[in-house]
């Protein structure tokens, strides 16, 4: 792999690593194993790319699918609690019921978000819907302390979590 190619991968990893790591954590792997699986995923993708086996690099979707696959294997190998079965990797053919449930879940999150305060929505947008957004850049943008912005994020999550629990 050439230096420019490596630089491209560095950028991709910097941009999407957290998202891939989260997807493995969400399957119930402990943090240390989740980190290993994430690294393994990137290594595998880089190898496949170098061998010309990847026509299209759709990130982070491809990395998330690969990481979930590894996570599932990990669970099966260690025969640990299979919380993972509740969220297996996406099936080859789209499952209409799963897609509908997933859409409904998103709608519920958006409905809950709509009931948050304007400042909470602003912070949410700056952190989650802005490229490279994080609490520090959001704090700078809204003129609040980093501590306060983190507090707002936690309050927003708590509000959405509660609304999701209440919603049918």
């Amino acid at each position: 792999m050439t230096a420019p190619e490596l630089a491209v991968w560095d950028d991709a990893i910097r941009l999407h690593d957290r998202r891939v790591y989260l997807s493995v954590l969400a399957l119930g792997l402990p943090p240390d194993r989740a980190r290993e699986v994430t690294q393994q995923t990137w290594t595998r993708l880089m190898e496949q790319h170098a061998q010309g086996k990847l026509d299209q690099l759709e990130l982070p979707g491809l990395a998330i699918r690969q990481a979930r696959f590894y996570a599932l294997n990990e669970h099966q190998r260690s025969r640990t609690e299979l919380r993972v079965l509740a969220a297996v990797p996406e099936p080859a053919a789209p499952d209409p019921e799963r897609a509908l449930a997933s859409r409904q879940e998103l709608e519920r999150v958006l409905a809950a978000l709509a009931t948050c305060s304007p400042m909470a929505r602003k912070v949410f947008r700056l952190v989650y819907a802005t490229p490279n957004g994080n609490a520090a850049s959001a704090a700078q943008a809204v003129g609040l302390s980093l501590q306060r912005v983190r507090q707002i994020l936690c309050e927003t999550r708590s509000h959405i979590r509660k609304q999701m629990e209440v919603a049918p």
């Binding site: 969400a26 119930g28 304007p118 949410f124 003129g143 994020l153």
Partner: protein
């Protein structure tokens, strides 16, 4: 270890010992379960954020092309609005992304009423100028287009986005003489270009807010909305900014010295950190050499004939300022330097005065600034007074530069005040803590963070309410028996508070119906005892109207027409009133009740026969008291 730590960890925001946290998670299945839950939620939030469209002005979630809450555009003309740079009564300036992923400045012109020929002319003038201009310090024209019709018409102008900071936002910076000279040269070069065009173009609104400083130190001149082609009829329309423009511009007279004068006032503002109108009231010291003061003196001479004849002459003078210092001053021999400031006496309907202030040689040392850090609960935008003068709106965590020394600070949150006397030491941060008791279950109020700047002389209340409703994005109803005029001066204040403060100054208040986003303006005492209730009228259609001083009966008929049901309306003959109402997607029944309530009226609804009987509210209440349960 608590849930918040894990939330922060999952978000990548945990500041503590991550390794220790991970060890704790590995050793505790309950914590591991929380991590899994929070990671799933985090994924969901990221997916939701990717699927959502946020309003670029108020961050509300938008499902259409325009925000239901504040009216800001989301995707005008194929552009994606990213954020609002400036917002005023006439429209907004967005940072937007075009189809090629380039960031552009998108200027929107909105109207309270159907656009007037003058408003359209100004917009078309700006588009025409920009299309023809080609200079590195002038944003490139990209496109102009319109959307909507009638009162919903919006005109757009897309220009190259100038990344930088406008000079009015750098007013805490102490400019050196070298910086002022360099800035003057750069702006004059743009003016030389504009004056070299045939016919010559005059910007007419040079001021710090219209000069953008880029990161590389170069400047850009923006906002050609007031620009004028020399030789065309100026008319009597006054365009420009008080304080910066020369006195003859008030009479519509402009020439090659006009922009130079405004530049001179701009440079004086930056040099003294005093706005031009304040220069007329205070003894202000100019920290500059004699040649520069002589240059500014000539640039801002009250009489056009005493100024530099053109931008080219002024530019040349800056290259050889020493020559200026020896020019004998015939007109003002006693003045070392002078700032000519246009003062505006509103009461006289146009009495203007020129004031000259003596400037002294001794340059003041820039005092070291300290930082006032406001900590406030609940976190509600509040007004902060510094040493008895209203300073600005503040929220929790906000930091404000202040001079060293002891200051009296008052934070106003509604009727509550938090008063603190604090001594600030040079360069350090001092915290001011204000904890306000939370009032139990307040009546619903508008909550619009969007900042507005209103400068309105003797505006009629009805016009002001319509303007506020349109700018801030809510529906409004006001009866004709409430009428007065007021002067409104609000700068960069949140919509909701600015609106409330203006009403309060007139002894008025408003009730707010969140379900309809509907405001009803009424005398404060009339609203005190009002209790929210569910409408007895069935839900139906939503209504969009914009009427000023319309007949009450006509408005009621329009609302019933929008209900989608054939109701029979009975209005006693002795009920006559006018109403001003602006509704945007308001449920008909909420709007119907608000219009009645605004006139002290109410109704009875008989489902059998779909009959709505209108009567004075006190009459209905008396009847209810006599026949409870009716």
């Amino acid at each position: 270890m608590n849930r918040e730590d894990i939330e922060l960890y999952v978000m990548g925001q945990y500041d503590g010992d991550v390794a220790a946290l991970e060890r704790a998670i590995a050793g505790d299945p309950a914590l591991a379960q929380i991590v899994t839950e929070e990671a799933r939620l985090e994924e969901l939030l990221r997916d939701a954020a990717a699927a959502a469209t946020f309003c670029p002005a108020c961050d509300d979630l938008v499902r259409d092309t325009r925000c239901d809450s504040c009216g800001a555009a989301v995707k005008p003309g194929g552009y994606t609005a990213l954020r609002v740079l400036v917002s005023n009564a006439h429209g907004r300036m967005y940072v937007a992304r075009d189809a090629d992923d380039r960031h552009v400045a998108l200027k929107e012109l909105a109207f309270v009423q159907a656009p007037s020929p003058a408003a359209l002319a100004a917009f078309e003038r700006e588009a025409k100028f920009l299309r023809a201009l080609e200079h590195p310090a002038i944003p490139r024209f990209l496109a102009s287009f319109e959307e909507g019709s009638g009162v919903h018409t919006r005109y757009y102008l897309a220009q190259e986005l100038v990344e930088g900071t406008s000079l009015d936002r750098l007013d805490d910076h102490w400019y050196t003489e070298a910086e002022i000279t360099a800035l003057g040269k750069q702006v004059l070069e743009v003016l030389v270009y504009l004056q070299s065009l045939s016919p010559m173009v005059i910007h007419r609104d040079i001021k710090p807010a219209n000069i953008i400083k880029r990161a590389d130190g170069s400047i850009a001149l923006v906002d050609f909305g007031a620009a004028h082609v020399h030789g065309t009829t100026a008319g009597v329309t006054t365009i420009g900014t008080f304080g910066y423009m020369p006195i003859e511009q008030l009479a519509g007279l402009v020439d090659a010295t006009t922009d130079g004068f405004a530049l001179g006032m701009t440079l004086l503002h930056l040099l003294t950190r005093q706005e031009p109108w304040k220069l007329a009231q205070q003894r202000t010291t100019v920290n500059a050499s004699a040649p520069l003061r002589a240059f500014l003196d000539k640039l801002t001479a009250p009489e056009p004939k005493d100024r530099f004849a053109s931008a080219k002459d002024a530019r040349a003078a800056l290259d050889n300022p020493a020559a200026l210092a020896v020019v004998p001053r015939k007109r003002r021999p006693l003045l070392i330097a002078a700032a000519a400031v246009v003062g505006f006496a509103a009461a006289g309907g146009g009495v203007f005065a020129l004031a000259h202030r003596t400037h002294h040689h001794a340059p003041p040392a820039a005092p070291p600034l300290s930082t006032l850090h406001v900590r406030m609960t609940p976190n509600v935008n509040s007004l902060l007074d510094l040493d008895g003068k209203p300073l600005q709106m503040v929220s929790d965590g906000q930091e404000i530069p202040v001079t060293s020394g002891t200051h009296h600070i008052v934070v106003h949150q509604g009727e509550q005040q938090c008063m603190v006397e604090e001594t600030f030491a040079g360069g350090k941060t001092s915290f001011v803590d204000c904890s306000f008791p939370v009032a139990p279950a307040p009546a619903p109020k508008l909550h619009i963070d969007k900042k507005v700047t209103w400068s309105l002389e003797h505006v009629k209340l009805h016009d002001f309410v319509l303007l506020a409703a349109n700018t801030c994005g809510f529906s409004a109803v006001i009866a004709d028996n409430i009428d007065s005029a007021t002067t409104v001066n609000v700068k960069d204040a949140p919509c909701d508070q600015a609106f409330e403060v203006v009403l309060e100054s007139l002894g008025l208040s408003y009730s707010y119906d969140p379900a309809a986003n509907l405001v009803r303006v009424a005398p404060a005492h009339e609203l005190e005892d009002e209790v929210a209730h569910a409408s007895a009228l069935p839900d139906g259609g939503k209504v969009d109207i914009d009427f000023k001083d319309a007949d009450l009966r006509d408005v009621l008929k329009v609302l019933i027409g929008a209900s989608g049901t054939s109701y029979n309306l009975v209005v006693p003959d002795d009920i006559h009133a006018k109403v001003t109402v602006r509704l945007e997607k308001a449920p008909w029944n909420h709007a119907f009740e608000a219009v009645l309530a605004a006139h002290g009226l109410w109704y009875r609804y008989r489902e059998n026969g779909k009959l709505i009987l209108i009567a004075p509210r006190h009459q209905i209440e008396d009847e209810d008291a006599r026949h409870p349960g009716r």
